[in-house]
């Protein structure tokens, strides 16, 4: 089990790093997540908008 965790840990950290380092940057602070008008934290639209 320890071995499993060592592997998962290393793979996980590597995945996080590669995702982060290859992600786009436009060199300025990200604006707050664009949830304007959304009806749930995931951005789902409101029933009344349909």
């Amino acid at each position: 089990m320890r071995l499993v965790y060592v592997i998962v840990f290393l793979v996980g950290v590597a995945a996080i790093l590669s995702d982060h380092l290859t992600s786009p940057s436009i060199g300025r602070a990200i604006s707050p997540q664009d949830f304007a008008g959304a009806c749930a934290p995931c951005g789902a639209p409101c029933p009344s908008k349909k």
Partner: protein, 327 residues
């Protein structure tokens, strides 16, 4: 008072034209000059009435008013492209097109009015320096000076042709210049937003590829990258730095071939300097209709955080910059 002068001028011109027509004299060849003139042409027309030779050397090409005074084309006047006010800070953004009043003052104080034929003379040392001439040319046209040209090869070409130089300073008496803003040459952010939304037009990014890709940026810009959908047509591709001239027309057309043949074009860069070269080539030399300069360019575009920016820059680039290994 201004109105009176305007009426007087118009009256004099009208009389002049009538006299010309009456005498059957051929139209002066100053009436229409090519956008790009050669050293030979300038030498031949140096004393033509109404011709103003405008030397724009500045720190951008390593020159200044002093280098002008040391040796310039005979009869030329000087205006420092970088410092004289050809570009102004507006809304906190540097190097923008100045306001109308400022343009009238700048151009009028040089002694230029809308009847003159202005030949803009860059130093002739690099593609960026040519951009100074293109931006000056564009500014004059925007302000309503109809007849403008750029000396191909600039002062360097004049000197290389072993033509006589003059030293000292020339000035013309200031005149009252009334700007007649030509909006068909100007693009603002709204025009760019329209192109992005409708696809009706092409955005041309005149900067070198690293700026386009987002590997480097202008200090005054708040974000890396380019306006989504833009084509990267580096202004230096139009210029042959080995001979310090623009390339022949066929090669210019080849460089510009990626742009769809029809439809509006908006040329931009960081602050409308390099993009003036792209505009000059497309509109003035290749005869393309409906080409505008978005003089605010990236510095203006990214000053509003909600505007989209496309880039291939990654966080790895940011880390490299943080540790001093990138930009």
């Amino acid at each position: 008072m201004r109105c009176a002068i305007q009426i007087a001028r118009a009256a004099i011109r009208a009389v002049g034209v009538l006299l010309l027509l009456a005498t059957g004299a051929p139209a002066q060849d100053v009436a229409r000059t090519d956008p790009l003139v050669s050293v030979e042409w300038l030498q031949a027309h140096l004393r033509a009435p109404g011709l103003v030779v405008l030397d724009i050397r500045s720190a951008i090409d390593g020159g200044s008013a002093e280098t002008y005074a040391q040796g310039h084309i005979p009869g030329a006047i000087h205006s420092d492209y970088d410092k004289a006010g050809w570009r102004a800070t507006r809304n906190g953004l540097p190097y923008m097109l100045p306001g109308i009043a400022q343009l009238e003052k700048l151009i009028g104080e040089l002694g230029i009015d809308e009847t003159n034929d202005v030949v803009v003379v860059p130093a002739g040392v690099s593609a960026t320096d040519f951009g100074s001439a293109a931006r000056t040319y564009w500014t004059l046209k925007v302000a309503g000076v109809r007849k403008v040209s750029i000396l191909d090869g600039g002062s360097a070409a004049w000197t290389a042709a072993k033509l006589p130089l003059e030293s000292g300073v020339n000035t013309l008496s200031p005149t009252i210049f009334e700007a007649n803003l030509d909006r068909s040459l100007i693009a603002e952010a709204a025009d760019v937003e329209h192109i992005i939304a409708t696809g009706a037009g092409t955005l041309v990014d005149a900067r070198p590829p690293p700026f386009f890709q987002g590997k480097v940026k202008a200090d005054a810009a708040q974000a890396y990258g380019h306006i989504p959908g833009a084509l990267n047509i580096d202004s230096t591709a139009f210029y042959d730095e080995t001979i310090n001239r623009l390339r022949p027309k066929a090669e210019l057309a080849a460089v510009a071939a990626r742009i769809p043949p029809r439809g509006p074009v908006v040329s931009y860069c960081n602050t409308g300097h390099w993009s003036a070269t792209d505009w000059f080539v497309l509109a003035e030399l290749l005869g393309r209709k409906d080409v505008k300069v978005y003089y605010g360019s990236m510095v203006d575009w990214v000053s509003v955080p909600s505007r989209p920016v496309a880039s291939s820059r990654t966080k790895w680039d940011d880390i490299k910059k943080f540790f001093g290994k990138g930009s």
